[in-house]
């Protein structure tokens, strides 16, 4: 990717293309964001702070950020492991596994929520058994985590996979012949090479999780101060006609997601330079 920076001065066609693409992305992405920020900031920064720090809003934001944090940590490990298995091993069902990894992108998240309720709801075998053990999954915080993990499966896997493919297995074999254990190989050879990809994939999954609505609204129970996440709080505020409050809380989610996405890009670029 790196190294193809404008080799020639753009001709008139190139300028037109750039203007067109810029206009397209600008109108599609930047304009709605600007509308949101304008609404959120219209009543002033103090009003924004009051909207965000209202107990119910703050609690919903904390819940969203916490569940996203836990999800991100789990994803970093399981995603890397999945990519490792997909790249380093050739086995029956490998294509099936790879296809399954992409599936969450294709399933409407509302359906994800319904699936989880069917699996863990009080009427289901698993849900009933868990209830007898004193654990509640559906309509409780664990279900939020499960929904987030489900919808973000592809992020880390697909970020790590190409880097791992470039990584020569010979290095690992050499280390092994020299007597290095699995842990040392992981620490000295694999992780340094994979870290940027793991981090950027994790960050992207985190940003995606912040906005998740469809699955959580079905599966979490939506009780204020208990299982009500920020996007669903935002939805409630819109529905009860308080667009400024909704815009303020959305602006916080957006700022976090934007900062993280930019961070992911910076990490990718730095990694690109050191590799190249």
């Amino acid at each position: 990717m790196s190294g193809v920076r404008a080799a020639v001065a753009p001709g008139p066609g190139g300028i037109l293309v750039r203007a067109g693409v810029f206009a397209y992305v600008g109108l599609l992405v930047a304009l709605p964001l600007a509308a949101l920020l304008a609404t959120g900031l219209a009543p002033g920064l103090i009003a924004l702070w009051q909207a965000v720090s209202a107990p119910a809003a703050a609690d919903a934001l904390v819940l969203t950020l916490t569940t996203a944090n836990v999800m991100a940590l789990i994803n970093a490990v399981t995603g890397t492991a999945t990519a490792w298995v997909l790249v380093r091993y050739d086995f029956r069902g490998r294509d099936l596994l790879s296809g399954l990894v992409d599936l969450p992108f294709a399933i409407p998240t509302l359906v994800t929520g319904v699936m989880l309720v069917l699996l863990f709801g009080p009427q289901s075998v698993i849900g009933g058994w868990l209830a007898r053990q004193g654990t509640q999954v559906a309509y409780a915080t664990p279900s939020i985590l499960l929904a987030l993990l489900f919808i973000t499966v592809p992020f880390v896997v697909r970020a790590v996979e190409p880097v791992l493919m470039e990584q020569d297995p010979a290095e690992e074999e050499a280390a092994r012949t020299l007597g290095a254990g699995t842990f040392t190989i992981l620490r000295r050879i694999l992780l340094p090479a994979l870290a940027p990809a793991i981090i950027s994939g994790t960050i992207r999954s985190y940003a995606r999780a912040l906005g998740e609505f469809g699955s959580i609204v079905v599966v979490s129970g939506n009780i204020p101060y208990k299982t009500l996440t920020a996007p669903i709080y935002v939805f409630g505020e819109i529905e009860s006609g308080r667009a400024e409050v909704a815009a303020a809380v959305s602006a916080v989610l957006l700022a976090v997601a934007l900062a993280l996405t930019l961070a992911a890009r910076v990490i990718e670029r730095l990694a690109g330079v050191t590799r190249g």
Partner: protein, 356 residues
């Protein structure tokens, strides 16, 4: 490597410019899905409704009106129907969804459209004060009522699992809380009569037992059907329709509950703009005729027409102490005391914050 623009990139650029041009050409209003109609012979009526009466309107009332109008005038009427949560539908209409008729769950939602200047007629003037159907708030329970839930006070019992939708997103949830709060204020529960603090305490104890707050009344009863919860606070008509469809739950009518009244109104601004005012007026009159009221009764709704109400009385259990939103001071007052920021509902949900 030399970067030459690939032909498809021109296509992409053209697409972007076309999009920009399209957006610029839009007049900024929300898109209203209207089919073009030939002037004179056939006109289209746009109905913006809440979700509960979807089957009643779509399968029975609209076809009947089309036949009725054709016989009377020879004109074909086409319909466009939109069904959303009551509040969301009101906001869509205010935002530019050009519905000729608004049929909503809450009077307050039609009031909002009127306040936006889109309804200018005195829509509450008629014999039925602008209403078209009725229901009551009831308690759906499991077969045989194993938890022995008989009245509002039973809902405060610790360990009971209750379903009621989210007040922020559901008109039905507001009706539910009004029913309980009103019953308490009227001295029909263990709370002393006319004691708002005691009524608030009852609500708080009941809400503590609520484990799932779905988006709307329909989602809530669907969760109940999936086996969640011991009791669902819901509309009588949802339960009756569910039972007609063979769902195995029962229901209990609390001793004191609220009469739900659903309004319908012509949205003057859009009806005039589309030249369908006579049609819209005729439709609103049509839904109040005994024939149509019988259709609503078949879909579990109590009738506003006295004759039909008597006829169908056997299908709807009597309520000992039935009150209306006016007994609580009307919607503007109820919004202020119960649902405004910092009011009863906010205070109670802040009290639920045991997690912190």
């Amino acid at each position: 490597m030399r970067l030459t623009p690939h032909p498809t990139i021109y296509l992409l650029a053209a697409l972007g410019l076309a999009l920009a041009a399209t957006l610029a050409a839009c007049d900024g209003g929300a898109p209203a899905p209207r089919t073009s109609t030939a002037p004179g012979k056939s006109r289209t009526l746009v109905l913006g409704a809440y979700t509960t009466p979807r089957e009643a309107y779509g399968k029975a009332i609209i076809p009947a009106f089309q036949r009725h109008w054709k016989e009377k005038t020879g004109e074909e009427v086409r319909f466009q129907e939109s069904y959303l949560g009551s509040g969301a539908q009101a906001r869509a209409i205010i935002g530019g969804f050009e519905a000729d008729i608004a049929a909503l769950s809450l009077e307050a939602d039609v009031d909002q459209i009127a306040q936006a200047g889109l309804i200018t007629n005195d829509w509450k003037a008629g014999a039925h004060q602008g209403m078209v159907s009725r229901s009551v708030v009831v308690l759906a329970v499991r077969p045989g009522n194993p938890k022995e839930v008989r009245d509002w006070d039973d809902l405060r019992r610790p360990g009971l699992a209750i379903l009621t939708p989210n007040v922020r997103t559901s008109g039905g949830a507001m009706w539910n809380l009004c029913a309980m709060y009103g019953a308490a204020l009227r001295g029909q529960t263990s709370a002393p009569k006319g004691d708002p603090a005691a009524a608030e305490k009852l609500l708080a104890e009941v809400l503590r037992n609520v484990g799932v707050m779905d988006k709307g009344a329909r989602e809530s009863i669907l969760s109940f059907e999936k086996g969640v919860g011991d009791v669902a606070i819901t509309y009588e008509n949802e339960v009756l329709v569910g039972r007609q469809a063979g769902r195995p739950y029962e229901y209990v009518i609390p001793r004191s509950t609220i009469l739900i009244e659903n309004p319908i109104a012509v949205v003057d601004h859009y009806a005039d703009k589309h030249g369908v005012r006579d049609l819209a007026d005729a439709f609103v009159a049509f839904v109040r005729t005994p024939e149509t009221q019988r259709v609503f009764a078949d879909h579990g709704l109590r009738s506003i027409d006295e004759g039909v109400a008597k006829e169908t009385a056997g299908r709807f259990a009597p309520v000992e102490d039935l009150f209306t939103i006016r007994n609580l001071g009307g919607w503007p007052e109820v919004r202020k005391t119960l649902f405004a920021p910092g009011a009863v509902y906010d205070r109670i949900s802040a009290g639920l914050g045991a997690r912190r």
